[in-house]
């Protein structure tokens, strides 16, 4: 068992003929991901690494039974690509693209609410079920199969935490990078719900960062509704207010919301141990298991 993706997930890659799309399709195939199609307007009939390319996502779904999409489409066209994926009715859309205009994402988010599709991202590294499939750009070799679920707003921080876990022999059920943008599809609570329902996940690591109130809301959810133990980490304790720390969403607003401390306090109040360092997070996970 796992969350959202496994060896049977049938993947269509939107933007498969671009540099990033091509490179990561090869990487996904190497990892064992079942990439069954690509979709690029005007490129139907071509092949990439033996994967057939279609002009539209709906045709890829019809011809190859794709049930998940990974989006490598450039930001100016990504909003449209996401609408197309939702229209085609896939169960899961993973949006890797960074820099999608916020108003486009607001419209996508609104449409998303009318569907049963899960959207991961945008501006995320993707999702991986170790040993089965990865959808996105995560480096497969650092992950190992196991029983710890991981949810993170940041790509490389995910790798760091996974590395700390893997080095102690703690494997992962599924790891989800939910993305660093202000508006994302699957937030912490939605991801936590999925892991809570997954019998293969015995503990969860949640890596948040400054900005927004997602972590605080997730803390309330954990305290009230979850049985699976959660360990936390929050990046950005030293970030000054009003400065954007790389991610569009990582900013402590002038009025003082979105600080690391408010997130740490909320998580600790919900019984979630929050590590000061990635090593301490691994310590917590070990003791929770």
């Amino acid at each position: 068992m796992s969350v959202l993706v496994d060896a049977d997930t049938r993947v269509v890659v939107q933007g498969i003929t671009g540099g990033e799309g091509r490179f990561h399709t090869e990487q996904m195939l190497d990892y064992g991901t079942n990439v069954v199609a690509g979709a690029v307007p005007g490129k139907g009939g071509q092949e990439v690494d033996g994967v057939p390319v279609y002009d539209t996502v709906s045709r890829a779904v019809r011809e190859e039974d794709a049930d998940a999409s990974v989006v490598f489409v450039p930001p100016a066209f990504a909003g449209d690509a996401l609408f197309e994926a939702l229209d085609a009715g896939v169960d899961l859309v993973v949006a890797i693209t960074e820099g999608i205009p916020t108003q486009d994402m607001s419209r996508v988010y609104r449409r998303l609410g009318e569907t049963d599709t899960y959207l991961i991202g945008p501006n995320c590294p993707g999702i991986i079920t170790p040993g089965e499939a990865k959808l996105g750009i995560l480096p497969g070799n650092i992950f190992s199969p196991g029983n710890v679920g991981l949810i993170s707003r940041s790509g490389t921080l995910t790798y760091q935490i996974v590395d700390n876990l893997t080095k102690r022999g703690i494997g992962q059920s599924t790891a989800v990078g939910i993305g660093g943008d202000p508006i994302i599809g699957t937030d912490f609570i939605a991801a936590l719900e999925l892991f809570e329902a997954d019998p293969a996940t015995d503990a969860i690591v949640m890596c948040g960062e400054i900005g927004g109130e997602d972590e605080e809301e997730a803390a309330a959810y954990i305290g009230e509704q979850m049985e699976t133990p959660v360990a936390g980490f929050i990046a950005g304790r030293t970030a000054p207010p009003g400065k954007r720390m790389g991610h569009a969403g990582a900013i402590v607003s002038g009025s003082g919301t979105g600080t690391a401390q408010s997130k740490i306090d909320a998580l600790e109040a919900a019984g979630v141990p929050v590590g000061d360092t990635p090593e301490e997070v691994a310590d917590s996970v070990e003791s929770l298991l």
Binding site: P75, A76, G99, I100, P101, T102, Q103, M105, S106, R107, Y109, R110, R111, P125, I137, L138, P139, N141, I142, S152, R153, S154, G155, T156, L157, T158, Y159, Q160, D163, G180, P182, I183, E209, I210, G212, E213, D214, F233, A235, G236, R237, T238, A239, P240, K243, R244, M245, G246, H247, A248, G249, A250, G254, S255, G256, A260, D276, T277, P278, E279
Partner: protein, 380 residues
């Protein structure tokens, strides 16, 4: 991306929002001439990307030509929180009975836009927002439809705006929302929206454009003023790095926002003080790595550098070559550099690294501790 007040006012005025008569001056003579034309009293306002201009002496109200000259002389060329004032807005001073607030922004938690109105406009609106959030009426907008007229009326009514100006304020809010939507606004604000003689006028104007949408807002992109308050931040813009200068002495370079933030936090955790946030981004090649080192070396506050790369799409061997290349140019390394590579091609990278130039550590924690110790040694 922020527009200057005068640029935002032009945008608002063109769309029909009442604004005071005003013009931009770059010299003292020009400012006095414009003030004479507009008629006293006038306000002379510094046009720089700095909050709290008034309190910092960047706005003056003057009653005659002599005062206008004096004010323009003091404001033009002044240093306002690190920014040099090159332009002033000369503007008709508006007499008012009330100061209102109207604004439009994206509510990230709701995933949709929100329009706001308050009777508590003026300099303290942020305090009002923090302490009495109920004093600001908020109306969420469905992005598929845009703002309905009734929503503007509802927000104005909920805010308790006087009947005499209610329809004017609603109309300003509707126009502001439409501008925000059409021009990919991040934040659009009028604070204060002054009430005088049963009419409203926008005495200040804020319009921030979503930087990710500039590709489709060419007219606004042209207005971008890249003047940064800090020399190093200007250099970072040039190199295309996400960079924030801080006050400590441990320089930090890494890849990925979350991991770089974590590296900063660890420096703090182990008793050091971070000098900067610098994210080289994904897939950085050797020359980009060299540029990053150049940036951090040119910060005179930096006493030691920690270089933390976890390769996903970034390759450890590329990073190692970049570090060797950058450091090979020096006869003596200006500041101690501690490197930690992990992930894709990290082992190859470690072998390539010239250990006569850098100290190599295997874990993030060890690398940060070594950098903090090295920085302490320099200051001691």
């Amino acid at each position: 991306m922020r527009l200057h007040e005068y640029q935002a006012k032009r945008l608002f005025a063109k769309a029909g929002i009442p604004t005071p008569e005003s013009a931009v001056a770059r010299t003292v003579d020009e400012a006095v001439e414009l003030a004479d034309e507009i008629g006293y009293p006038v306000a002379i306002k510094a046009q720089v990307h700095v909050g709290g201009r008034g309190k910092a002496g960047g706005i003056e109200l003057v009653d005659d030509a002599a005062e206008a000259r004096e004010a323009a002389e003091s404001i033009l060329g002044m240093d306002l929180k690190g920014y040099r004032v090159e332009e002033v807005l000369v503007e008709e001073a508006v007499e008012f009975t009330d100061e209102l607030y109207v604004g439009v922004t994206m509510d990230r938690n709701a995933g949709r836009p929100v329009a706001m109105v308050s009777t508590r406009g003026g300099v303290n609106i942020e305090e009002v927002a923090a302490e009495e959030p109920e004093a600001i009426a908020r109306e969420h907008v469905d992005p598929a439809f845009g703002m309905f007229d009734f929503q503007a009326r509802k927000a104005v009514s909920d805010a308790g705006i006087d009947r005499e100006v209610a329809s004017d304020v609603a109309s300003v809010l509707t126009t502001l929302y439409d501008l925000w939507e059409e021009h990919d606004g991040a934040d659009a604000e009028i604070n204060p929206l002054m009430v005088a003689d049963q009419a409203v006028v926008a005495a200040d104007a804020v319009f921030n454009v979503d930087g990710d949408a500039l590709f489709r807002q060419p007219d606004l992109a042209e207005l971008e003023d890249e003047t940064a308050g800090d020399e190093l931040e200007a250099k970072a813009n040039e190199y295309g790095f996400d960079y924030v200068r801080l006050e400590g002495n441990v320089g930090i370079i890494g890849n990925g926002a979350g991991l770089v933030m974590t590296t900063l936090d660890l420096v703090d955790h182990y008793g050091g003080e971070p000098a900067n946030f610098l994210d080289v981004g994904g897939g950085a090649k050797a020359d980009r790595i060299a540029n990053a080192l150049d940036m951090v070396f040119s910060d005179e506050n930096v006493d030691a550098v920690v270089f933390n790369i976890f390769g996903g799409i970034t390759r450890g061997d590329e990073v190692a070559r970049g570090i060797n290349q950058a450091l090979g140019q020096f006869e003596t390394i200006p500041k101690p550099v501690i490197v930690r590579l992990a992930g894709t091609n990290a082992e190859e990278g470690m072998e390539i690294l010239d250990t006569s130039l850098v100290q190599v550590e295997e874990t993030l924690e060890a690398a940060v501790q070594a950098a903090v110790a090295a920085a302490e040694e320099v200051t001691a």
